[in-house]
Symmetry: C2
Subunit: 325 residues, 2 copies
């Protein structure tokens, strides 16, 4: 695959957008042409400064997108209804859009999906939601592995991430250091939840061609520390919450289950695992698991050449091949 | 992905073609419309009988393809120059072709590739070479895994297959039971060689966007039994050959190495492994390895809906997404 220079705009310069921008700037086949954010503190500054690169790159952050780009990397929110307006406007400009919006990985809101579909097709451009999870380890990778099977009876997908090696906001987000009562209150108020697990389940089901007869509720439980755990940022006493255990499953002609455990002190057991029962059985493991922070930016940038070659419309990761580029 | 009924013809009813045909007949979205073979003993018989199904399926084996099919599954040979004429003729009929020809997985003969490219594009159809190896475990799967990486320094791909669980011809083909002298003579005469390892290397390099500065020779060495090994079909004494060890590597901006070990008595160590050094590192293992015989047919059949959606021309596995269907 030869890759010509692709003009790219970054839309949203939060922590993930900054990581994507840093990666874009390392790619010989990318020309960064714009960087957009709503933060008045960022607008007007060179994006190299904003993302902590220590050098100017010749692109100033603007509050609106002013130039045309082949592809826009979009990273402003997790919920489809919050970002649908942005996505429509970007597609209407005639750019492909690759977004980290978790709910876009498999849009469940049919009204929004249809709206985006029409806009993308009319403009002859592609819209893709991606990331490492959702977007790869719990959906695209398991789907890819099932391609060696003549029959599939069940797919069990397990991701155990050691939150100790992740940044502080993530350690807080999984509830590390809370009491179980605090944890349950945070779950009830929507503060503790990995976004995209249901989307991953539905993407796997769709890719395998199975309509689930029943889909479980998404269960979010605390993982309680059985010993004291100390990280760079916090300390968890024995009996306090170390992190989150989130599960969902679909039953049908093929049973699919997803289990995510994300907690501090998980170094000994961290892994990504896919267990396919079928003909043949396949048991795959990625030792220590794919580290989330770096991989999301990688998935976005590595998807860019593929989106350039894809058909127009709202696509999922099941519609495109991927690899490092 | 909804799959409408796809008409499929099987071209070549040897052991792999028979396995593909058996699988095609289990798929609700496939209508088998023809089965072709040159063997006079097979021609005129119902294909269900020929593949040992114990029932008629209403399709008689013919010596020539007489009907139009959306997709033709082609399985008649490993070498591109031997099958290029067949492939061209099938493409000219306006059918997509999915072939198990190992050298088609990444056509290295540019003259043949260009010929096929022109024919496929003129007829607006797709030609794909696939299988489990080449086609998946040592090329498509490693490429897919690298998509989580911001940087890739090297990719090490190791496949250790336990030949004890494979059919007799394969155990013979890896040299089990030979003396090392017999093995080396068989290598020299081209009788012992896993086809497609070089193609897998080149496919991985191409997918990663790296032009190798140097490519090693393909090394084929005996694996000598360190104990007596008995299989269903043969016995290997200590000191005799248990199987084959085949390696190739490319050096460049990214180093890629492929190592295939296929021998009897490998039950304790059988695995498929991909070790990516980069940002982040990724170490993947499929326990016991993907069993070859069933998986090749699976890859062919699971690729059919993807080829129907792909762009015309000569494609590789790096150009299409895959999953069980």
């Amino acid at each position: 695959m030869n890759t010509k220079t692709i003009t790219v705009a970054q839309y949203g310069i939060g922590p993930i957008g900054a990581e994507i921008t840093r990666l874009l700037l390392t790619k010989s086949w990318v020309k960064l042409v714009a960087a957009v954010d709503i933060d008045p503190d960022k607008i007007g500054k060179d994006v190299g400064e904003v993302i902590g690169l220590g050098r100017e790159v010749g692109v100033k952050v603007t509050g609106e997108l002013g130039v045309k780009a082949d592809v826009i990397c979009h990273s402003t929110g997790s919920r489809l209804r919050d970002v649908a307006g942005q996505l429509k406007a970007l597609l209407e400009r005639g750019s492909h859009v690759v977004s980290t919006c978790e709910e876009l990985s498999f849009p469940l809101d049919q009204k929004i999906r249809e709206d985006l579909q029409q806009v993308a097709r009319a403009a002859q451009v592609t819209l893709l939601g991606t990331g490492v999870n959702p977007g790869f380890v719990m959906d695209k990778l398991p789907l890819t592995i099932t391609s060696v099977c003549q029959e599939v009876k069940s797919v069990e997908i397990i991701r155990i991430q050691n939150a100790s090696t992740r940044r502080e906001p993530l350690q807080r987000k999984v509830g590390a250091g809370m009491t179980t009562a605090e944890f349950r209150a945070a779950v009830d108020s929507g503060k503790i939840k990995h976004m995209g697990l249901r989307e991953s389940l539905m993407l796997v089901g769709h890719g395998l061609g199975v309509e689930f007869e029943s889909i479980s509720d998404e269960k979010i439980e605390p993982i309680v520390a059985d010993r004291e755990v100390t990280t760079k940022y916090l300390k968890v006493a024995k009996g306090q919450v170390a992190g989150v255990h989130q599960t969902i499953y679909g039953k049908g002609k093929i049973n699919v289950s997803l289990e995510l455990r994300m907690y501090v002190g998980a170094e000994a057991v961290a892994a990504d695992r896919v267990i396919v029962k079928g003909v043949p059985d396949v048991t795959m493991e990625i030792k220590d698991g794919v580290h989330g922070d770096r991989a999301t930016a990688a998935m976005v940038v590595n998807s860019i050449p593929r989106v350039m070659q894809a058909r127009p419309g709202v696509l999922t990761m099941d519609d495109i091949p991927v690899s490092f580029r």
